[in-house]
Amino acid sequence: MSSLQRTRPGSRGIWRDKLLRDVLSIAAAMAIVGASLGAIAVSKGIPLWMITLMGAVIFAGGSEFMAVGLMTAGAAPVTAVVGGLLLNARHLPFGLAIGDLFARGPLTRLVGSHLMVDESVAFALAQRDPAAKRRAYWLTGIALYCTWAPSIFVGGLLGQQVGDPDVFGLDAALPAALLALIVPSLRDRPTLRAVAVGALVAVVSTPILPEGLPVMAALVGVAAALPLPRGRKGEEES
């Protein structure tokens, strides 16, 4: 639990803490997106308590929008579940990459896993040393978790008064934020090759594959990062 205590800002005020400032700006954008999800869901007849609970127990925005859209359009429940799980499948490789940041004890592993979202992974990967990575992961995960379900609830209460978040350009702000977090890693050539090939594969396969799969298909791009400096065993993937 020591990693939780390290998330406290210093006594010099939160606005001097760069990480905290960046995390809060993402949280503000997420709050508006959450509010719009709540408003949309309630307008389509989903009970407020259910959409709020969904935010707390699923905590993966894309799959929640997808489930609301599919279910209220009359799709079969199994479609909503399978579609949402495909969209969330990227969390498995995320956990393989950064799982040791919160795998110290059973409790931190159980809680830390639930806080795994694109933003917490990206903020963690953007830091240099393990202590900074841990702090970034917990801070982002906790901030976004504390924002997401409450903003869905408030949005659901406000209903029609919540405007379209696209008017504010938030649909561009959130990808741009993730991009800003991975840009420093892209200065490494093998990583840049992997991302370029992976992104191309994902975009080309988007019209033909179901949502979520194009992003997973991008993993073939990792082959473009090879050869890396060899480890002791030097096994090659096939």
Binding site: L85, L179, A218, V222
Partner: protein, 103 residues
Amino acid sequence: MTMAVVLALAGGTYAMRLAGPLLRGRITISPRWERLMSIAAITLLGAFVVTSAVAEGGGFAGWARLAGVAVGGVLAWRRAPFVVVVLAAAVTTAGLRFLELAA
């Protein structure tokens, strides 16, 4: 919308989130694999950024969003502060829509 869908989605998503950390706790990983897995995570994030910049529900998301993310990307590459990147992306996209130059 039923409770069963919410619970199935929540349970499945949590299982996928927990699988990585659980597996990591059981095996030792060479530095080379460590590096490859970080590259894989960055690749997934990169693909997620690009697909969400370009596409919405399998179709083209429109030039306004793409332009906003591109402006953000250029600023990030030139080491602009994070908040500037995020705001510039939002303002570009919102501005293009407001002026009805792009959807």
